[in-house]
Symmetry: D2
Subunit: 459 residues, 4 copies
C-alpha cells in the first residue's frame, strides 16, 4: 500500500490537466487541486498498513450485510469513495459478462488485482458528450459524440471521444471508461469498456470548479473540506493495450457496466445522503435555538418536515440493507429498488429542504459578516454585540452557524453539492425509469385484480 | 373459542344501538350492520380451534420480529384487527403503569385473560367530545366534554361522557375506554381507563354511515367488503365495577394508554397501507393498459410516482421491523419513529395518489354505467361495444376496473376509507409532533456542529 | 320564452333514458332526475320574460368585458350554464369555419336562432368512446369507437357512435355533437358536427349517478342542490337532416369546435371555481372557530394555504378578464392562457385543499350523527350536549357544518364534483398541452438569450 | 439632476465602509463595489435631464394605473429601484401618520423634496439585529438589539443599534431608518423613524458579498450585471437633527412605515419576478433545444410546469394592477392581497423551478468548461467539437447557455438572488400572515354558511 507522500509523488507523471485556459504543471501544489490532493493523501495515510499483501479494505467486495453496511457508511475522502464504487462496478460486471466475453472478465480481474497491489485510485468515466440527444450514437453528425474505437490493432485499440462530469479526475491514477448506455447491433464501435492510466498520451483533462480565490476558508467549512472540481476528459486517439480492454463490440453488454455502476454508486451514496439530511435538520434546530425561535410553531413545523424527510431517507437505507441480495460470487449487494427510491427522494426534495433551512435561518445566512470583520478592531466588538441571539450563545457562535448554512446551501460549493445530488447517477427521470423497472408490478396488479373481483384474469 | 354462529348469537344482548334516528333492535339482521357482522363471523370461523385452552392468535402478544411481521401483515376482518390493537394496547399499558398502580396492571391482565377465554372482541374508545378545544378538560363550560368519573362508590365508579369515531362499535362485545390525552394534576376525574361491556346500562351507540341503499354491490367491490360505520358512543352515567377499572386518578399516566394505542394502531395499519398503495399502483397500470395508454410517457410518469410512493411506504415498514424493540416482558414492538413517519406519508400523499389514479383512468371512472345496464337487453350489447378499450379485453372487464376505481376513490366508501387514513390516529399535525419527539435530534445537532467547526459545543 | 311548467311539459317527448338497467318513462317525476328538473325549471321561471322576441340573456354572446364578467359570474342552474357554453361554442365555431364551409356557418346561426326562439336547452356531446387509445379513429378494430357518418343521403347523414360523460343530458332538449379532437385527412367520416334533438330515433341515454336513496337530504346540502348525473349517450344510427349538419368531412376543422368549447367551458367554470375555493376557505375558518381551534398556529397555516390558493385562482380570473380579446364579430372572449392555467390550478390543487379542510375539521366530518338522531328523543339532547364546541355556538350548528363539509368533500356528490373539476375539459396533461401552446415562448426565449449575452441569436 | 460622473464624485464623502476586515477608502474604485457604482452611474446618465426643476421620474408617485404599471415594470438599476421603493414608502407613511404626528408628515415631505432636488439615492434600513427573537425589544438582555433613541436633545435625537441586510448601502446617499415591527406602549424609544446621511458620524457599513475574485465574468453574465452586496449597518450613537425625525415615540404608528414599505417593495418586485420566471422558462426551452431534447415528453412536462408557474405569477401582477386602489392624495397603489400572494408564490416555488431548469439542462450546467479553455489552442477546438449539441448550434453557443444557467441557479450570485427572493420582505410565514390579514374572510364565511343552510348565522 502507498502512504500519502507516495501518493503525492505518484501524481507527477506528466498528466495533461488544464484549468481556466492553462496547463496545470503540478496538481499537488496548484491552488485549485492542492486541497483535494491533501484530503486523498490523508486517506492513504489513515488506511495504510505495511506488507506486500496488504490491500485497502475499500478495494474489496463485501461478503455480508454487515460488511456492506460498513463500506456504505464509512467516512472516507471522495477519491477513495469513487475508487470503491468503480472497483465494485468492475467486479460485478466481470461476473455478468463472463459467458459472453470470458477474456474481458479475466482482464478485469487482473486489472483489479493490479489496482489493489499498487494501491491505485480509479474514477469512473461514463457520460459521453452525446451531441444531439435526439439521435443515437451511430446517427450523430459527428461520430465522436459518443466515445468509440477508431482503430483496431493487433495489440490493442485506439479510442476517441470525451467523457464529462468526472469528479476528482486530475488526482486519480486510472480511468474506468465504460459505455454510457445500451447500444444497438450497428453500434459495435461504441461498445467499448477499458482501463486507461491518467498519463496515457492523448488523455486531456479540462477542469472546472475551484474554491474561489479570496475566500477566507474559516467562513466556508464545506468549501474547505468538500469542494470538488470536475473534469471534462478528452480521449484524443488514445491507445489501449488488449490486456486493458474489458469489452469491445459485444453490444448486448454495453449497458452492463452502467447498470453495475448505478447499483454501487447508490449504495455508496445513500448513507451519506441520509446523514446529510440529518445534519441539515440539526442545523435547522441549532439556528432556530440560537435565534430564540425554536418554540415557534411554524418553525417547529418546518423542522418536522425536515425530520420526516431525513427519516424516510434513512428508512430506504434500512430497507435496502434488510433486503440485500447475493451475487453468484458471494458479493452482497443492496436492494436496487430501495436504494434507487432513496436516491430519488433525496434528490427531489433537496431544494425544498434547503428552502426550509434558509427560511428558518433568515437573511443572516446570506449577510452575516466575515470572521475578518470580527477580527477588525474597528468593527469586531460591535459585530459580536449585534450578532448575539439567545443569551449565553456568543455572537461568534451564531456567526459560525450562519457561515456553515450559507456554505451548505448557497455558496458555489453548496450549489455544486446540491447539483451533484440532483444529477448524479442521472436526473430524476432516470430514477423513475429504474424504479418502474425494479418494482414488482405483477404483484401490484394481482392485488388490484383481486380487489376488483377479477382474480381470474391474467396479469 | 367461538364460532361465527356463536358470535352472532352473542350480539343479541339488549345493546342500545341507534341509526338514523331509530333504535336498532338486531344488528345481526339490520341492513346497515349485517354485512359487517357476517365479515366478523367469517373471521371467527376461519380462526376457530376447539378446546378450552384455545386462544385466538390475534389476541396474543408477538415474541419475535417474525411474529410481529405475521401479526402486522395478517389479512383479517376489521373487528379482529381492532381487537388485536386494543388488546396489545392494554398489555403494553399494564407494563407501564405497573409501578404506579399495580392493581390496575393486575386488573388489565385479568381482563385480557377473560377476553381470551371467552374469545370476545373489543374496540378502543379514545376520542372525547372535547367541547371548546382551546380549553383543557377542567375548564370546559360543560365538564362532561371529556369523559370523567362523576361518582365513586365502594364497588366501582360511575362515568359520564362521549367517545367519538368508534369503528364497528355496535358489533363488538367490549369497549376499551381510555383518556384521550395527558391530564393535569387537577384533572384527576378525567384520568380514567376501564373496560365496559356493550350491553351495560347507560351505554348508547349512535351510528353513522351505511352502504347506500339502492346500490348494486356488484358495482362496488370495496363497499361490499370494507364499508364500516362509526359509532358515537355515549356513556350516560355508566357504572364500572372496580375489577374493570385500570386507571383512576393517576394523572401522570393519563397519556400512557393513548401512547400505547398509538404504537399498536400504527403497527397494525402500516402493512395494510403499503399493500393498498401497491394495489393503487396496480389499478393505475391495469386501467392504463385497458385504455391503451400504458406506453404514453406522461401516464408512465404518474405511475412511477405512485410506485415511488408505494416503495417509500414499504421501506418504512421494513425499517420499523428491522429496528424493532423489546418491551420488558418480551413483547416485540415495531420502531415508533419509522411507523409514525410511514403513517404520515401514507396519509399526506393519499389525495395526490388518488388524483393520479383518477387522472390516469379518465372520466369513465365517474360515468361508467352499471352492471344492470349491461344486463338490460336494450342497452347491454351497445355498452359492451362502446366500453371496449384495448382489443382483447372485453368491455365488461374495463367496466369492472372503472367500478373498482370509483369505489376506491370517489364513492362514499372510498371517501370514508380515505378520511380514516388521513385522520386515524390523529391528523397530520399529531404525526409531526410524534415524529419530532421520537427523532434523534441530539445526533443530528452533533453532525451539524461538527460540520460547522463547533464540535466542542454542547448540543 | 318558456316558463318552468312549459319546460317540464316539453320533456315528455318519448326520449329513451335508462337508469340502473331500466327505461325511465318520465324524467320529470323519476326520483333520480326530479331534483335536477326542478332546478332547471326554477331557472326558466327566474329568467322568464314575455314577448315573442324575448331571448334569454344566457343564450346571447357578450359584447364587452363587463358583459363577459356578468355571464361568467352569473349564478345559474347547471343546465342553463351548459346551454350557454354550448351556444357560445357554436357561434364561435361558425365564425371560424365560415370560409371553409359557409353553409355550416349558416346552419349554425339558424340553429342558434331556433334555440333562442324556442328557448331550448342544449348540452355538448364531445368525448367519444375512443376504444384503444393508442390507435387513431381510422385504425380502431371497431370503427365506431369514434362517432362517425355511416351513411350519406341527399337529405342528411346517418351517424353512429357514443358520447360519454354528458352531464344533465336526460333533461335537455338538444345535443351539440362535435368531434373530440383533430382528424387526419383519411378520417373524413369522423369530422362530423351537428345538432340532434333528444327524442330523435336511435338516441339512447344511459344514465349514471343519483342522489343515494335513504339519505336525509337535510344532512347533504350539496347533494340537495348540486347533484348531477352523467349520460352515456348512444347514437345508434341516427339520421340528421342537412340543415342541422354543421361540419361534414372538412377534417382541417375537426378540432375547431373542441377548441371553441374549451375556451367557453373554462370561461364559464373559472368564476365558479374561484367562489368554491373561497367557500372552502370559509368552511375551514368556520369549523376551526366552532372547534375552538382558530387561534392554533398550524390550523392558521393550513387556512392561509387555502386562502393563497383561492386568491391565486381569482387572480387568473381577473387576468383573463383584464386581458380579454375580441372575435371578429365583436364577441368578447376571455384570455385563453389565463383561463387555462386557472383551470389547471383549481384541478391540480383540489385534493390538497380538501385534505386541508378535512384535516382542520377532524374526524367528525366523517362521523357526525344525523339530523334524525338529533330529533330522536332518546338521543337528541345527548347529541346536542356532546356536539357543542365553542360556547355560544349550538351543537346543531356545528353538526350542520360537519354535514356540509362531508358532503362537499367525502360524499358521493362531493366526489363527483371533485372528479368533474379534475377531469372536466380534459385531465391535467391536456391543460399542460394547452398552456404550452398559448404561452409566449418566443418572448421568454428572447429574455433568456439577452441575459446569456446571446441577444443576437434567433429565437 | 446629477450625471453619472457627479454621482461618483458625491460618494467620496468620508463614509465608513468595511469589507473583509478592512476599511474601504473609495467605493468607486474598490473591486467589490466598482461594478455596482458603474451600474448606478449609468442609471443616472440614462435618466438625466437638465434644468433646476427636473426630477427623476423614479422619485415621483404614480397617479394612474398606467403610471403604476410603468414604474413597476421599468428596467432600472437596483439602487434606483430601492430609492423608488423608499421614497414611495415615505410618502405613503406621511399620509398615514398625518393626524397623529403632523410635524412628522411635514418633515417627510420636506425630506423627499430634498432628495428630489439633489437627485439623491436612498435605501431602506428596516431589519434590526433582534437579539433573542423570543423576547420583545424592551425585554432584551441588550436593549440595543433593536435600534432605539438613547438620548433626546433639544435639536434632535441620538440613535443606537444595527440594521441588517441593507442592499447596496455603501453606494447610496441616504438611509431611511424605520422600525422593523409594531411596538408596545412601553417601547417608545424603539418607535423611531428618520433619515440619515451615509457620511454621518457613527454610521458604519460592514459589507458582505462580492463577485469572487478570479472569475472570468464572461462566463457569469448575472454576476456581471446583478451581483449585489449587503450591508450590516451600525448606528453607533448617531445624532439625527429634528428636521429629519419622522416618528419618535408614537408607538401606535411604529408599524406604519413597515407596512408602507411592504406594499411598495412588492409592487416593485413582482414585475421583475414575473419576467424572471419567463426567462427561466426560456432558458429551459433553449437548453432543451440545444441538447436535442425539446420533443421529449418528460422534458416538455417540466417546461409546462415552469410555464404554468410563470403565468400564475403574471396573473397576480395583472390582478394587482386591475384592482389597484387610490390613496387619499391621489397616489395609485397596487392591490396588496394579489401582490403579496404573487410574492409568496414566486418565493415558495423558486427552488422547484430551479430544480426543473437544472434537471432539464443536465450536468454540464455544473461542469461546462470556461471561455478561457475555449481560447486555449491546446483544448479549444476539442471543446467546441464535444460541446456541440443539436446540429447548427455551435458548441460555444451551448457553452454560453450552460454558463448562464449555472450563474442563475448555482453560483454565488445565483444563490444570493434566490435567497433574496425567498427572504426579501420577510420569509414565507410573513407572507402567509399578510395574506390572511388582507383576504376577505367574511365573504368566504358567508359563502360557506349559505351553502351549509346557515345563511341566517352571523359571520
Amino acid at each position: 500500500m502507498m502512504t500519502g507522500a507516495q501518493y503525492k509523488a505518484s501524481l507527477k507523471d506528466g498528466r495533461r490537466v488544464y484549468f481556466r485556459g492553462e496547463r496545470v504543471t503540478d496538481v499537488v501544489t496548484h491552488p485549485t487541486f492542492a486541497h483535494q490532493v491533501e484530503a486523498a493523501a490523508a486517506g492513504y495515510d489513515r488506511d495504510y498498513r505495511s506488507g506486500a499483501d496488504a490491500v485497502s479494505s475499500y478495494m474489496k467486495a463485501p461478503r455480508s450485510i454487515d460488511e456492506l453496511r460498513d463500506q456504505a457508511t464509512a467516512s472516507v475522502d471522495l477519491l477513495t469513495s469513487i475508487s470503491t464504487t468503480s472497483t465494485m462496478t468492475l467486479l460485478t460486471a466481470a461476473d455478468r459478462i463472463q459467458k459472453r466475453r470470458p477474456q474481458g472478465s479475466e482482464a478485469i480481474r487482473d486489472y483489479v488485482r493490479e489496482l489493489q497491489r499498487k494501491d491505485l485510485r480509479i474514477v469512473e468515466c461514463i457520460t459521453d458528450a452525446k451531441g444531439d440527444r435526439s439521435l443515437p450514437p451511430a446517427k450523430q453528425p459527428d461520430p465522436d459524440a459518443y466515445l468509440r474505437v477508431v482503430e483496431r490493432r493487433s495489440d490493442g485499440v485506439v479510442i476517441r471521444g470525451a467523457k464529462l462530469h468526472i469528479a476528482v479526475a486530475p488526482i486519480a491514477h486510472e480511468l474506468m471508461v465504460i459505455p454510457t448506455k445500451a447500444m444497438k447491433p450497428d453500434e459495435r464501435d461504441y461498445a467499448i469498456a477499458c482501463g486507461v492510466a491518467l498519463d496515457t498520451p492523448g488523455v486531456k483533462v479540462i477542469n472546472v470548479g475551484s474554491t474561489p480565490a479570496g475566500l477566507d476558508l474559516r467562513d466556508y467549512p464545506f468549501t474547505h473540506d468538500e469542494f470538488i472540481s470536475h473534469g471534462f476528459v478528452i480521449f484524443d486517439d488514445v491507445f489501449v493495450p488488449n490486456e486493458r480492454v474489458f469489452l469491445d463490440g459485444e453490444t448486448e453488454h454495453a449497458a452492463t457496466f452502467a447498470h453495475s455502476l448505478g447499483l454501487w454508486i447508490r449504495a455508496q451514496g445513500l448513507a451519506g445522503m441520509a446523514d446529510e439530511a440529518d445534519m441539515r435538520a440539526g442545523f435547522a434546530q441549532l439556528i432556530a435555538e440560537a435565534n430564540g425561535l425554536d418554540k415557534v410553531v411554524h418553525i417547529k413545523e418546518k423542522i418536522a418536515e425536515m425530520v420526516i424527510h431525513a427519516t424516510l431517507l434513512r428508512s430506504t437505507l434500512e430497507a435496502s440493507l434488510a433486503r440485500a441480495q447475493n451475487l453468484s460470487d458471494g458479493t452482497v449487494i443492496p436492494d436496487e429498488l430501495y436504494t434507487n427510491v432513496g436516491k430519488y427522494l433525496g434528490a427531489a426534495e433537496l431544494p425544498l429542504m434547503n428552502r426550509h433551512l434558509l427560511d428558518i435561518a433568515g437573511g443572516s445566512a446570506l449577510t452575516a459578516p466575515s470572521t475578518r470583520d470580527l477580527e477588525n478592531p474597528e468593527t469586531g466588538q460591535l459585530l459580536k454585540k449585534y450578532m448575539v441571539g439567545k443569551a449565553g450563545l456568543g455572537g461568534d457562535y451564531r456567526l459560525k452557524l450562519f457561515h456553515a448554512i450559507r456554505d451548505l446551501t448557497a455558496s458555489t460549493t453548496g450549489s455544486y453539492k446540491n447539483l451533484a445530488t440532483l444529477l448524479g447517477g442521472g436526473g430524476l427521470y432516470a430514477q423513475r425509469v429504474v424504479t418502474r423497472g425494479r418494482y414488482d408490478m405483477e404483484r401490484a396488479k394481482r392485488l388490484a385484480l383481486r380487489a376488483a373481483g377479477l382474480a381470474d384474469q391474467p396479469v
